[in-house]
């Protein structure tokens, strides 16, 4: 009988150590990790946009999109506390162990979008699964036209990865526009919803791809703005989160329309999402 062909950890999680923990925003922490097995630590490869199943020993397992890029980027997870398992993760300290299965899912189609302008539009923690698109684009600066980040959150305290965004600004030609819903003393960025930045940033439509991720209202407003300006549905990408138990297309918990987020996604074009006929 068949074997799984890919170089993925399918059934028994590999043990990894949390090497460092960083508080990002309220309820969100970043966990840097390395695999206990030296050979795996060397050989583990994930494509940008894939996800893993993370075991918190004693609490359970959850699916989480990978924020890191395969090249020259530290392995980490950025996770919000939302329930029993993620509570368990947040209770861990450096030196503690977690389990990892994967990587699973399709990933971002960088080869297909070479030479284009890249616009990354994120709301709140929606920047986590899109982080690797920026890292990749900045590492391969010559493969892209304009690289634009439009990022918004309720308040300045809800913006992720702020110091990294400042670092990225040092790359020539990287444009970042940040916004918060309501004005705050000392805030130098924009005020208003993220989709209003599309106009302010003069986002081009020609030869452009957009990556959009965030809460449903924010997502829909941005889609409306982008498509209204003439960006085609197939050039808008998003990545979905779903309740998952297996990650390998068997438990079927993540079925959306006729697809499974774990094996057909988690990255979809807006064109695909429209045909799935379910609430995103």
């Amino acid at each position: 009988m068949a074997e799984s062909p890919l170089n993925a950890i399918v059934t028994v999680p590999a043990v990894a150590e949390i090497t460092e923990i960083k508080d990002e925003i309220e309820e969100v922490r970043t966990f840097y990790f390395s695999f206990d097995h030296p050979e795996l630590e060397r050989s583990f490869r994930a494509r940008s946009g894939q996800f893993i199943m993370c075991t918190v020993f004693g609490a359970g397992e959850f699916a989480v999109s990978l924020p890191f890029s395969p090249e020259n980027d530290r392995r980490h997870l950025s996770v919000r506390r939302v329930g029993k398992v993620t509570d368990g993760l947040h209770a861990l300290r450096p030196g503690d162990k977690i389990g990892i299965r994967g990587p699973f899912g399709n990933g971002f189609p960088f080869d297909a979008i070479k030479g284009r302008n890249m616009v990354v539009i994120a709301g709140g923690i929606g920047l986590i699964p899109l982080r690797s698109t920026l890292v990749h684009a900045l590492q391969h600066r010559a493969d892209f036209g304009r690289i634009i980040l439009l990022y918004g959150a309720r308040s300045s305290r809800d913006l992720m990865y702020l110091s990294q965004i400042e670092d990225w600004r040092k790359t020539e030609g990287f444009e970042a526009f940040l916004t918060i819903d309501r004005a705050e003393p000392g805030w130098a960025g924009e005020v208003g919803f993220v989709h209003t930045l599309i106009e302010k940033a003069k986002v081009p439509v020609e030869n452009t791809v957009a990556f959009v991720c965030g809460p449903p209202i924010m997502f829909n407003a941005n889609i409306k703005e982008l498509t209204g300006r003439g960006l085609k549905d197939e050039f808008i990408f998003s990545t979905l989160e779903r309740h998952m138990k297996c990650g390998i297309g068997k438990c079927q918990h993540c079925a959306i329309g006729r697809t499974l987020v774990c094996t057909d996604g988690p990255v979809y074009t807006y064109k695909q999402l429209k045909t799935l006929g379910e609430q995103i």
Binding site: T11, G58, C251
Partner: protein, 352 residues
Amino acid sequence: MHILPKSGLPRLVEALGEQHELYGPILHEVSGDALFEKLADPAALRLDAPIPYIPPKAAVFPHFEEILHYAYDRDSKKVDIARTDLVRPKALIGVRSCDLTGLACLDRFYLGQEFVDEVYRDHRRRTFIVANTCLGPFPQCFCVCTDSGPYAVEGYDLNLTDLGDHYLVESGSEKGAALAARLGLAPAGADAAGRRDAAVNASIASFDPAARENKAWISRAVNRLTTGFVKNETWEYIGHQCFECGACSYVCPTCSCFNIEDVTPAEGPTGRIRTWDSCSFEGYSRMAGEHNPRRPIEDRRNKRFFCKLSYSQSKKYLRPGCVGCGRCARVCPGDIGLPNVVQYIRRETTGR
């Protein structure tokens, strides 16, 4: 092809029992219900028992199963983690054609896609299957409409067809042929295939005409459902009939959804437990943080029928996902078993 006198059946069972746990149909001593179970007593095996309440899938995809266990000691930071391998070789004796086709669907789904389900694979690697031709339908059956019975053409190690005082034995694998040889079964005569075909044809002819008439409608339902032509009102009606009990999924030979939970007992390692799940349950697609993308019951309910009848799902099974066993129709308190759903889709177009 070989001949097994009926008096020789215990020898076959005994030979299988040497290296396998034995599973097969029995009649419950109090209720009289047909069950497909581990045989405590091989003599209790009843090949003539009606179609069992729960399909034999339960032997290879158990209702409740620990797939791995671990212990993490936070002080020493030591993790012990390992697969739980309790899978012993099993012989499933007396599997009817619909259920055998159901196993074929599960095989293609669990083993034939991008990833292999290693837990299921370990069960199936160690399974010996003795199929059993149905000489006549039970009231719920419509396998003739779904191309899955009453006679199995593949997927078994041995197949038995009752021809009066003996069984016609056909082998479908090397394992099966080896066992037939070991038992020294007599070769069947030249007329055996003809007599088998006569028995199978008589069986098909005795199906309810309504079941046979439904045949065309199943393929038309596949078409309408795949192309999105089933009206929303129809799904809403079907959705509102559903009690969300999950019984249909539990009895269906091709339903394969599962849940996974890590369970820590008072003492000893944590077990990762996999259990059957049903798309009808409200918590099925709920995510941490309470966002439930597939909330209304009609959404969850039509998921089941997409799974059984849509073309996209059929591609995974290499056939429709319904094998015509009729179990869901028998158990559903809301009267929306698959045959009825096909009826509703039909009424939409014909008005009757």
